[in-house]
Each structure stands twice: as structure tokens, then as C-alpha cells.
């Protein structure tokens, strides 16, 4: 999963930005995120197109403090370490 890292101050974002909100730099580089820690997980019944019908959304934090969402069909609890990959819909995670 790709995050965006400010080349000047190293702030990381899941949301691509034109300007770093921390230092004002306009230069970013892609960072491959493969691990994180679950902040929380929500089991979602009514899912949006084109996603599968039944999954949990995990809000996670990277080792550098940036946060993002990924899907899972596993049981993941707050504080669990997760491993992140990408499938046809987007980022998915499993317990590490």
C-alpha cells in the first residue's frame, strides 16, 4: 500500500496532497506500507460498490504515525499488529 512522504520533513500521508500540511513543501515520494497497528476495527454489513459484501474496516497506524484504512475478513482488535497487502479493490490486512 502506497503512502506519500514529504521529502523535506518526512511527514507521511495516506491522502495525496499537493502541499505538506506540516512544513509547506511540495515534494513527496511514495512509501510502501506493509505493516501497522490497528487503532480499531468495524464490522460493516452495508458495504459500498464495488467492494465485497461482508468485511471489517480497520483503521491502522504506521510506525511513523500516519493512519489509513484497510479491509479484512479476519478478527483484528485494537492494538493488534497487522500485515498489509493490496488486492483488486485496495489495501487488505491480516494479523501479523
Amino acid at each position: 500500500m502506497e503512502f506519500f512522504k514529504c521529502t523535506k520533513c518526512s511527514e507521511e500521508y495516506v491522502f495525496r496532497r499537493a502541499v505538506c500540511h506540516k512544513c509547506g513543501s511540495e515534494e513527496f515520494t511514495g512509501v510502501d506500507i506493509t505493516q501497522g497497528t490497528a487503532i480499531d476495527s468495524v464490522h460493516l454489513i452495508a458495504t459500498p460498490e464495488p467492494m465485497p459484501d461482508d468485511y471489517s474496516v480497520v483503521m491502522f497506524q504506521t510506525p511513523n504515525g500516519a493512519r489509513g484504512f484497510c479491509r479484512t475478513v479476519s478478527e483484528i482488535k485494537r492494538g493488534d499488529r497487522i500485515r498489509i497487502t493490496v488486492d483488486e479493490y485496495g489495501p487488505v490486512c491480516e494479523p501479523e
Partner: protein
């Protein structure tokens, strides 16, 4: 000073008619009285492209209403469109650009599978976050879980928002849901995004509402009971939910309320009634704290003690709120202003609050991506 001089609803719910018919149902009674005086039309609508295959709704609608020569514009600010539209109308009158503005909030959303509607509404999230699978309901679930961890309400105390608002909706002939629900029914209903259940979310609705926004002087000449808009506040927050510092507070709601109260020279304690953006049960509680009605973490206690019922110290969402009145997205913020107008002019029927002379509303876009707050006073 700018006032609201008239308001009219087309019932919210699942409607068979198209968006033009629904919008006209709300606007024609006002046009019957004020047609020759209206010199601007502001249409609040967010998803006519996605749900109805219509763009340029404002011009199509003015033609439909026989108002081809009246200038118009469409305001799209997702769930906050209505509040933004009222703010635009107020600004048009205050600046002298227009004298009498017809605001029409309208949306036609039903008829699609839930999965499609969920996708359309989730399109306001940053694309990178959407790929991770969240929906708007799931964000409310994250908020609920964080709120429970931080402030220890019982799960039932949050669900009571739905019980209160369905009761209020049962007294509102324009509401989508016309029946009360018990706490047990809410707590055993289908889970949508754990832990929130279906009765705790607003339905997908069709509906429309129209307002006449004008100057105090014009309102007096119309012979109408009027409600002054004495305070306004618009504020934006970060669109990326995962970039926010707190999951139990919404910065744009807080800041817009501070601005509105400051510009009105009032405090939250001066308010007699309020309409909050309860897309999910937890949002009414969080917003009631963020706008300053209750201390952080204590909104649920006020709800449990009955302070926010129609008979309570500060009735919240007497209309039934988005939760029961429904949430035709472009209409919702306009409907909040209309409900305050009806309450403060003594026209709210079975849900009338006694002796109310001041009111507050907050119209929220997305999941707090931006907000517009208003303070109202009897003219």
C-alpha cells in the same frame, strides 16, 4: 438584518414522483404568495447527477416553476448543501444583490440498491481512503467505539437518540418515519456497522423544502411572521478522517458554532431549541457537546435525563432529525432552518415547543468536512 419569512415542506420519504414534482410541491405554495417578489432562486442539491442523471438542476427547476427570468444557482456541498444554500441566500440579501430569495432544498435518492447508494455517498471521501473500504456509516461506528472507550456511556444511552427522534418524527407529518420505536427494538435491529444498528442511522430519502429568505423590512411588508438569522458561522476541517486528531469531536462543528454564537452575541445557554446533524445516533451526542450545549463526554447524560426531549430544557431535533425525518441530502440543512422557523413562529403543530424564541442549527458536510451553523431569533 436577514429573515426567514416562509417555509414549506414536501413530505420526506420514499416518493414515486421525480425531483421536479417533489421540489415543486414544496415551492408552489410560496410562489402562490410571493412569486412576483422573488428575484433569486438558490437550489440546494448534491446528487442529481448521480441519482437522477440531471445537471444544471437550478435552471431546469426555474423553468419548471415558470421562473425563467429569475437568476438561480445550485449549491452542492454534500450533506451540508442546505446550510450552505441558506448562507448563500442570506449573503445575497445582506449584500443587496437580491431582495427576496427562494431557497429550494431537494433530493431524489431512492430506487437504487443500498450498495450503489452507499458508493455514491462515500464518493466524498478521499480516494485513497475509500480504497480501504469505509462507508459513511462505518465512520460513525468508529466514532461510537471511541466515544464509548473514552466516556463510558452505556450502549443503550447512545441508542436513545433514535428513540427520542423517532418519537419526534411521529409528531411531524413531513417526516420519513411516522412511527415510534422502543429502545428494545432499536437494540435488536440489524447491525449496519458494528456497533450501530439500522434505527440509529438516517434512511435514504427523497424530499424537498422551500424557504423565503428576505430582509426584515420586506418580511414586515409581506405581513408574515418572521425569524431573524442573527448569527452565522462556516468552518472547514480536514477531509481525511484518518488525519484527524480526535474521533470523538468534530472541529468544523465546533468552530462554526463558535462563529455563529459570536456573530449573534449569544451563547449556547441562550438557545431554546436546536437542530443537529444526526446522520447517526452518536453524531447528535457529539455535536451537542461540540457546539457547547453540554460538556465533552456528557451529552449522553443530558439525553438520558430527558433534557433534550420536546418537553426538556433544550429540545434537540424536534423535527425528528435526519434520523427520523429523513436525509434527502440537499434538503436536510434547509429543513433544519425550516423547522426552527416553524417552531419560533408557533407553527410546529403537535411537536411545538412552548415559548421558544431562539434557535440553533448546524448543517454538516460529509463526516464533518465542513459545517455551517446558524443562530435564529424571533423577529
Amino acid at each position: 438584518m436577514v429573515s426567514i419569512a416562509a417555509a414549506n415542506f414536501a413530505r420526506f420519504g420514499k416518493r414515486e414522483e421525480d425531483i421536479f414534482s417533489i421540489a415543486s410541491e414544496s415551492a408552489l405554495p410560496l410562489l402562490d404568495k410571493f412569486r412576483d417578489s422573488i428575484d433569486f432562486v438558490v437550489v440546494s442539491n448534491s446528487y442529481s447527477g448521480e441519482f437522477n442523471d440531471i445537471s444544471g438542476l437550478n435552471n431546469l427547476l426555474t423553468t419548471h416553476l415558470g421562473m425563467d427570468s429569475v437568476p438561480s444557482l445550485r449549491v452542492d456541498n454534500t450533506s451540508g448543501s442546505g446550510g450552505s444554500a441558506v448562507l448563500v441566500a442570506k449573503s445575497l440579501v445582506a449584500s443587496g444583490e437580491a431582495q427576496n430569495v427562494l431557497v429550494i432544498g431537494a433530493e431524489k435518492m431512492t430506487g437504487y440498491p443500498t450498495k450503489r447508494s452507499t458508493r455514491i455517498i462515500a464518493s466524498l471521501l478521499p480516494p485513497e481512503e475509500r480504497r480501504g473500504g469505509p462507508s459513511l456509516p462505518s465512520l460513525a461506528a468508529f466514532m461510537t467505539r471511541s466515544y464509548i472507550r473514552e466516556f463510558s456511556p452505556t450502549r443503550e444511552s447512545i441508542a436513545r437518540v433514535a428513540v427520542k427522534n423517532h418519537h419526534n418524527g411521529s409528531l411531524n407529518p413531513y417526516a420519513h418515519f411516522q412511527a415510534e420505536v422502543t429502545l428494545e427494538k432499536v437494540m435488536t435491529s440489524k447491525v449496519i456497522a458494528d456497533p450501530l444498528r439500522i434505527f440509529e442511522y438516517c434512511p435514504v430519502s427523497d424530499g424537498a423544502v422551500s424557504l423565503l429568505v428576505t430582509s426584515d423590512d420586506n418580511a414586515a411588508s409581506f405581513g408574515s411572521k418572521a425569524v431573524r438569522i442573527t448569527g452565522t458561522g462556516a468552518s472547514s476541517g480536514v477531509s481525511s478522517i484518518t488525519s484527524r486528531e480526535s474521533l470523538v469531536s468534530i472541529d468544523s462543528v465546533k468552530e462554526s458554532a463558535v462563529k455563529a454564537f459570536r456573530s449573534a452575541g449569544k451563547t449556547p445557554g441562550d438557545m431554546d431549541i436546536a437542530e443537529l446533524h444526526d446522520m447517526a445516533s452518536i453524531l447528535e451526542i457529539v455535536e451537542s457537546e461540540d457546539v457547547g450545549f453540554f460538556r465533552k463526554g456528557e451529552g449522553w447524560k443530558a439525553l438520558e435525563s430527558g433534557e433534550t426531549t420536546i418537553e426538556g430544557r433544550l429540545p434537540i431535533n424536534t423535527s425528528g432529525g435526519l434520523n427520523s425525518k429523513g436525509h434527502p441530502i440537499g434538503a436536510s440543512g434547509v429543513a433544519q432552518s425550516a423547522e426552527i422557523f416553524l417552531q419560533l413562529t408557533g407553527q410546529a403543530g403537535k411537536r411545538q415547543v412552548k415559548n421558544a424564541s431562539t434557535g440553533f442549527s448546524v448543517s454538516m458536510a460529509g463526516f464533518g468536512n465542513n459545517s455551517t451553523s446558524f443562530v435564529y431569533e424571533v423577529a
